[in-house]
C-alpha cells in the first residue's frame, strides 16, 4: 500500500513540477502562439497531477483511516516539503532558453508517451484510467515538442548551437527516469525495455534534427539520480516556495 502511494505521488509530482516550470513561460513565450502552446501543456500536466493526487489522497486516507481530516489533493501539492517530493530531477530543471525548455519537454513527453502505455495496462484500475486519459494529451505534447526539436536542431547555426547546449545541460538527468526505485518495483514495468525504446526514438529524432547522437547513448554515462527518493537539485526549493506561498502564508485560504 505504501509503495502504491509513493508511486502515485511520484507520478503526480512529475506532472505538477514540470507543469509549474512550463507555466513560468506564461507571458514570456517567443511568440504569442507558442506562449499559448506551452501553457496549454502546462495545464494538461497540472490536470494529470490533480488526478494522481486525488487518488493518492484517497489511498492515504484509507491507510490512516482519516477520511475527513486526512490528505487532499491540495494538502499533497501545497503542504509537503522538498524531501517529500518524488519528481524526477529532469522536471525541476530551470527553463533556460526556449531550446532547453523544448528539449526537456521532448525528453519527458517521449518518456511519458511510452510509460503511459504500460500504465494503461496496470492492474490498478484507477491508474490505468488516468493513464488512458492522459495519453491523448501526451501524444500531442510529444508531437509538438518533437517537431520543435527538429525545427531548432535543423534550423540555423544559432538554433542548432542552442540545441546542442541544451543536450549538454539535460542529458545527464535523463537516466533517472529508467532506474527504478523501491516503490516502482511492484509496478511491473520493464524499465530496460522502456529505456531501450526511448533511446531509439530519441536517436531517430536527433538524426532527423541533424543533431549528434546524445553522449554515451547505448553505453554507460554518469547519470544524476535522487529525485525519485526526495534528493533534489537546489532548484526544487525555489519552485515550492513560489508554488506553496499562499497556503503557507494563509493556511486554508480559498479563492
Amino acid at each position: 500500500m505504501s509503495n502504491l502511494i509513493d508511486y502515485t505521488l511520484h507520478l503526480a509530482d512529475n506532472s505538477l513540477i514540470l507543469g509549474q516550470r512550463n507555466a513560468e513561460w506564461c507571458g514570456h513565450g517567443p511568440v504569442l502562439e507558442q506562449d499559448i502552446a506551452i501553457t496549454n501543456i502546462s495545464l494538461d500536466l497540472i490536470g494529470q497531477a490533480r488526478n494522481y493526487y486525488q487518488y493518492a489522497a484517497q489511498l492515504i486516507n484509507q491507510l490512516t483511516n482519516k477520511p475527513i481530516t486526512g490528505a487532499t489533493e491540495d494538502s499533497l501539492a501545497y503542504l509537503r516539503t522538498e524531501r517529500e517530493f518524488k519528481n524526477c530531477l529532469l522536471t525541476e530543471l530551470p527553463n533556460g532558453d526556449w531550446a532547453q525548455t523544448i528539449l526537456r519537454q521532448y525528453f519527458f513527453s517521449q518518456y511519458q508517451f511510452l510509460f503511459l502505455q504500460y500504465l494503461q495496462k496496470s492492474k490498478d484500475e484507477q491508474l490505468s484510467a488516468i493513464a488512458a486519459k492522459s495519453l491523448k494529451e501526451v501524444t500531442y505534447h510529444l508531437r509538438w515538442s518533437r517537431e520543435w526539436v527538429i525545427r531548432l536542431g535543423d534550423g540555423t547555426e544559432e538554433s542548432h548551437f542552442r540545441m546542442i547546449k541544451a543536450v549538454d545541460e539535460l542529458w545527464r538527468y535523463t537516466g533517472e527516469m529508467f532506474i527504478p526505485v523501491t516503490y516502482e518495483i511492484e509496478a511491473g514495468i520493464d524499465f530496460n525495455n522502456l529505456k531501450a525504446v526511448w533511446q531509439t526514438k530519441v536517436e531517430e529524432v536527433f538524426d532527423e534534427a541533424s543533431l549528434p547522437p546524445p553522449p554515451g547513448i547505448g553505453g554507460s554515462v554518469f547519470m544524476q539520480t535522487g529525485g525519485k527518493e526526495g534528493l533534489h537539485t537546489e532548484h526544487l526549493g525555489f519552485i515550492l516556495t513560489e508554488l506553496q506561498y499562499m497556503q503557507r502564508a494563509y493556511p486554508g485560504c480559498e479563492w
Binding site: E24, W25, H28, G29, P30, V31, L32, E33, Q34, I36, A37, N40, P94, N95, G96, D97, W98, A99, Y140, R143, W144, E147, R151, L152, G155, T156, E157, E158, S159, F161, R162, K165, E169, H235, F238, I239, E242
Partner: protein, 127 residues
C-alpha cells in the same frame, strides 16, 4: 563559438533567453524577431461535422504544419472545433473597400431577387 557563462534565473525569463530575438550571427533566424518575419495565416474552424469551416482569426507561423498546430492551441482550447483549415493570408484576394459602392449598392433596390418576392406553390416548403 563563444562560451558564455550559463546563468539561470528563477521565474522570469530574461529577454536574451526567450529565443525570439534576431541574432546577427545566423543568416536565417528561425524565430526572427518574435515571429515578426513569420508569415500570417488565416484560420478556419469547422465547429462540428456537417457544418462549414468558418473564419475565426489569424496567427503567425513558419509553415503550414506549425500553423495548424498553433491554430489548435490558440483557437480550439474550448472544444470549438473538429477540423482546421489554414491558408496563408497572402493567398486571399479581397475586394477593395473603396469599390464597395459600385460592387454592393446596386443590389439594394433589387427586391425582386429575393425568393420571398414570388408567390410560392403550397407544396414548396423551406424557401
Amino acid at each position: 563559438m563563444n562560451n558564455y557563462l550559463r546563468k539561470f534565473y528563477y521565474g522570469d525569463i530574461p529577454e536574451d533567453k526567450t529565443g525570439g530575438e534576431i541574432n546577427n550571427s545566423s543568416k536565417n533566424p528561425p524565430l526572427g524577431g518574435r515571429g515578426a518575419d513569420w508569415p500570417l495565416w488565416e484560420v478556419f474552424i469547422r465547429s462540428k461535422q456537417g457544418l462549414d469551416h468558418k473564419h475565426v482569426g489569424s496567427l503567425h507561423a513558419a509553415d503550414a504544419q506549425m500553423a495548424v498546430e498553433n491554430a489548435r492551441d490558440v483557437y480550439t482550447r474550448r472544444q470549438e472545433g473538429v477540423s482546421i483549415w489554414v491558408v496563408e493570408s497572402k493567398h486571399i484576394h479581397a475586394s477593395n473597400p473603396e469599390e464597395a459602392g459600385e460592387l454592393f449598392e446596386p443590389a439594394a433596390d433589387k427586391i425582386y431577387r429575393y425568393p420571398t418576392f414570388y408567390q410560392l406553390p403550397d407544396e414548396v416548403n423551406q424557401m
